[in-house]
Amino acid sequence: MNLEVLEKNEQKLIFVIEDITIEMANAIRRIILTEIPVFAIEEVIILKNDSPLYDEIVAHRLGMIPLKTNLENYNLPRDCDCGGFGCPLCQVSLTCEVNNDTNKPLVVYSGDLNSNDPNIVPTHDKIPILKIDKDSKIIIECYAILGLAKDHVKFSAVSNCFYRYYPVIIFNEDDIKDKEEKELISKMCPVNLFELVNNKLELKEDYWKTCTLCKACEQNSNGKIKVTTQKGKYIFFIETDGVLPFEVLIKKTFELFNEKIDEFITKLEEIEILSKIY
């Protein structure tokens, strides 16, 4: 297996992965999308709400706020000793009390939530939750738990995760003689990968980074240009809201993958073979 990182910053990770089967790539994608435990607000107690938003809307908005997650110190509620009832090992409480004593409307931001664990805080401080008028008040108590994105999207660790085939374009410049045809091809590519230099059709060197595999070049050259994909090579894109660092995310993915395989093997060994099917 060969891995090359193309781009990595706070939000995005792009890498090329080689010598991997598509089943494996898809397993990684699906685990990242649905199986990584992540913190989100699950229970909200609204003691006072003077804003024009209904309590249900406020609770829903609070639930959607992504929280920075520390996986080491917390358990999933269903695996916790307390049986999901709620204890310091599986629950974090966040409170918010804002009193508008200015004489202008005031926006309550996610930064106004006070967490009892400084590691579990909203990823951004400037997410507007609601707005209150002058002399109004809001008192909210929230409880955040770990959860899986297959139960609710608010528990998603990434905002986008996909892979695509590695494009390979095969063409012979000499086959395309017509000048008009050359112009047409260079015009039809939606990401402008073909250039006309001195009446010669040239393909950009790093075309595989942006080629969308749309096959417009193939159709407009009557098959003289061939758009194919390389087997076992994929370009992976992961985009996060800052919930988990990429290192933790990828490590957790493979931990979960191994757990699933082990579980499958033990289940398989438990099964008694009752009858033989020929």
């Binding site: 939000q11 003077d50 804003s51 024009p52 938003l53 809307i57 908005r61 959607m64 706020i65 992504p66 409307p105 990823t123 951004h124 400037k126 997410i127 507007p128 609601l130 707005k131 209150i132 008028d133 999207v153 998603s156 905002s159 986008n160 985009e239 809201d241």
Partner: protein, 66 residues
Amino acid sequence: MIIPIRCFSCGKLIAHVYQPYLDLLEKGESSEIAFEKLGIDRFCCKRMIVAHVDLIDDLLKFPRLQ
């Protein structure tokens, strides 16, 4: 009413860029460049911001029925 926290289609966090987006437009930036600066690149997320009407300021004028 008030800007939704996440994009309806893809789930990306968008609420925190609404105000910076308006500030950039105020400065005379085009929306395309504003979105680029704020790291919004899918059209599902762009429509959340472009199509949003902030009605909450109008509703603040009325007392809340308890």
